[in-house]
């Protein structure tokens, strides 16, 4: 399959950048019929990530402690619930505006279980408005389990888990109505939000409630940061569930992401150093250009 005559030759020596560049040419030419050479770096990244993920999961399952840093927004959750209890007012938990197929909604249910345990411990009512009948069923289950976790199964009030509307703005108006009438002392927004984030955060702010928000959706974070007291942003959102549940598979995934991030930092710092050190306007390949080629 390989036309040996047309194949670029291997270099004589590998002592210079030019030699390495020629070596890369020769190797990728020979690999091309079997594997896309520009995608090798991607394959390595996937393999390394998978390996660390499985290793960390195994470690976590064996009971080795992998620490997870405390998130300011999480401390705020307890504070918010405590304040609601002092004031004798309920806690409002909004699980986002998407369906259960959205991963953030699933994670929101795990957080809800934790929040419901706390409110049950304090004996504070928790109101959960939902935009979707399926989400409502999941939310009911989460709150019920949370109450059970606290040893207070009687604290579960089915009427407080409400289906409002499938229409985005009608759902939003319904939540605003709850904020006006029942005056929750703490509003917790966790999950996937769209344009309504702005209106919710505004209405909640005017009601004077302490507000904690969390979403991995960047578009809506500005509204939450500007109008809420604490915000769990971006990737932090996924760490919350790992932190709360300590489930080995989640912890292992977070760990693998961390290690790859550190590797990424190291890799581009080396590249930046090589690029800065490279002679300006060099004609042939430099160490920097050879290094850059490794990334496809």
């Amino acid at each position: 399959m390989i036309d040996v005559l047309a194949a670029p030759p291997f270099p004589e020596a590998l002592s210079s950048a030019a030699g390495w560049s020629q070596w890369l040419d020769a190797v990728s030419w020979r690999l091309a019929p079997y594997l896309a050479p520009d995608k090798i770096a991607t394959a390595v990244a996937i393999a390394v990530f998978a390996w660390i993920m499985f290793a960390s999961q195994r470690k976590a399952r064996r009971g080795v402690e992998i620490p997870i840093r405390r998130l300011a927004g999480l401390d705020a959750l307890d504070e918010a619930i405590g304040r609601a209890t002092e004031m004798g007012r309920p806690v409002l938990y909004v699980p986002g505006t998407d369906e259960i197929k959205e991963i953030q909604t699933i994670y929101s249910m795990m957080i809800l279980r934790h929040v419901a345990r706390k409110t049950a411990e304090y004996g504070t009512p928790i109101i959960v408005p939902t935009k979707n009948a399926v989400v409502m069923a999941f939310a009911e289950e989460a709150v019920r389990q949370g109450c059970a976790d606290a040893g207070r199964p009687d604290a579960f009030v089915a009427d407080n888990i409400r289906y409002l509307s499938d229409e985005q703005f009608a759902y939003c108006a319904g939540i605003a109505g709850i904020m006006y009438r029942e005056k929750p002392a703490a509003n917790i927004y966790m999950g996937m939000f769209y344009a309504e984030a702005l209106i919710l955060a505004e209405t909640g702010f005017l009601g004077g409630a302490i507000q904690v928000a969390g979403t991995s959706r960047m578009e809506q974070l500005p509204a939450f940061v500007a109008a809420c007291d604490y915000t769990i942003m971006g990737e932090e959102y996924f760490a919350v569930t790992a932190y709360l549940t300590r489930e080995p598979s989640l912890v292992g995934t977070i760990r693998a992401g961390d290690v790859v991030k550190i590797a990424a930092i190291a890799l581009f710092l080396v590249g930046t150093w090589l690029a800065t050190a490279a002679p300006a306007g060099a004609a042939g390949p430099t160490w920097s250009s050879v290094y850059e080629r490794l990334f496809g």
């Binding site: 047309a6 702010f205 005017l206 500005p222 992401g257």
Partner: protein, 274 residues
């Protein structure tokens, strides 16, 4: 069985698509032909495409079911739900008729699809339904379903193909959707005044950066700041925002990688327990 086969399907298809990603690319210059990987990849993606479309069509059944139930239950919004269903079905019928103009019986086409008009250079107008164009001219069919003699391209001055589907799109759908989203301008205005507070160092930074971008993007903002806003905004965007967005992109890719790996390796099963 009920669980194993779906997971097996996920794993096999997933691994095949992953393999195709790394498969050699065809290269005509070197005589590398497309491999069987390209064929499998192409057909699997085609399957996914068809299934996504069919799944969406199933959604219609859901819309009908929910709204019918509300109509039956004498919901307060009952008249509106009727409008919803009627407008949906009317538009579906008109749209499907236009799409299948060539396959449908003539009587139905005559009622549901507006006639086309071809104006000739001599001012003469031919009415009928355009069936398509050949190298030499335009083929049309008359209101009885008979083929008209082909009209040569060089005699045609103007072809008018009215479409009820396009009319509904531009006169109803487009203005409604555009206006729905423009409401957000008002909501942003209200929220900025009533709730966006510089209560911490972080939110202060956010509001200042937002103001810089708003001023830097428009002429008057730049004039009012003595030409400072635009360069400051450019520096902010090209460096700070680029750094943050790149970190977010890297973090996002790790999230996709983690979930993707778990799904492709058959470890993630939550999507099956719907």
């Amino acid at each position: 069985m009920k669980r194993e086969i779906p997971i097996l399907l996920t794993v096999i298809c997933g691994l095949l698509v992953v393999a195709a990603f790394f498969a050699p690319a065809p290269d005509a210059a070197r005589g590398l032909q497309p491999s069987v990987w390209q064929a499998i990849n192409s057909e699997l993606l085609e399957w996914a495409k068809i299934l996504v479309a069919v799944a969406f069509l199933l959604g219609i059944a859901n819309v009908v079911r929910i709204n019918l139930r509300q109509i039956q239950a004498r919901h307060v919004d009952r008249p509106y739900k009727v409008v919803l269903l009627l407008s949906m079905f009317a538009f579906l019928v008109v749209g499907l008729a236009e799409m299948h103009e060539r396959d449908l019986p003539n009587g139905i086409v005559r009622v549901l699809v507006p006639a086309d008009h071809v104006t000739m250079k001599d001012g003469h107008v031919v009415a009928g339904w355009v069936q398509g164009a050949t190298e030499t001219g335009i083929r049309m069919r008359d209101s009885d379903g008979h083929d008209l003699p082909e009209i040569p391209h060089d005699q045609v001055a103007l072809v008018s193909e009215p479409s009820a589907k396009m009319w509904v799109y531009f006169k109803i759908f487009a203005p409604l959707q555009a206006t729905m989203f423009s409401l957000l301008a008002f909501y942003v205005a209200s929220a900025t005044f009533r709730a966006f507070r510089a209560r911490s160092f972080e939110s202060t930074l956010l509001l200042v950066a937002g103001a810089v971008v708003m001023l830097g993007q428009v002429k008057i903002g730049n004039d009012l700041t003595g030409g400072m806003a635009a360069p400051v905004e450019a520096f902010l965007m090209d460096n700070f925002v680029k750094a943050a967005e790149r970190a977010i992109a890297i973090g996002g890719s790790l999230g996709v990688l983690a979930t993707g790996l778990r799904i492709v390796l058959g470890l993630e099963r939550s999507y099956l327990s719907e």
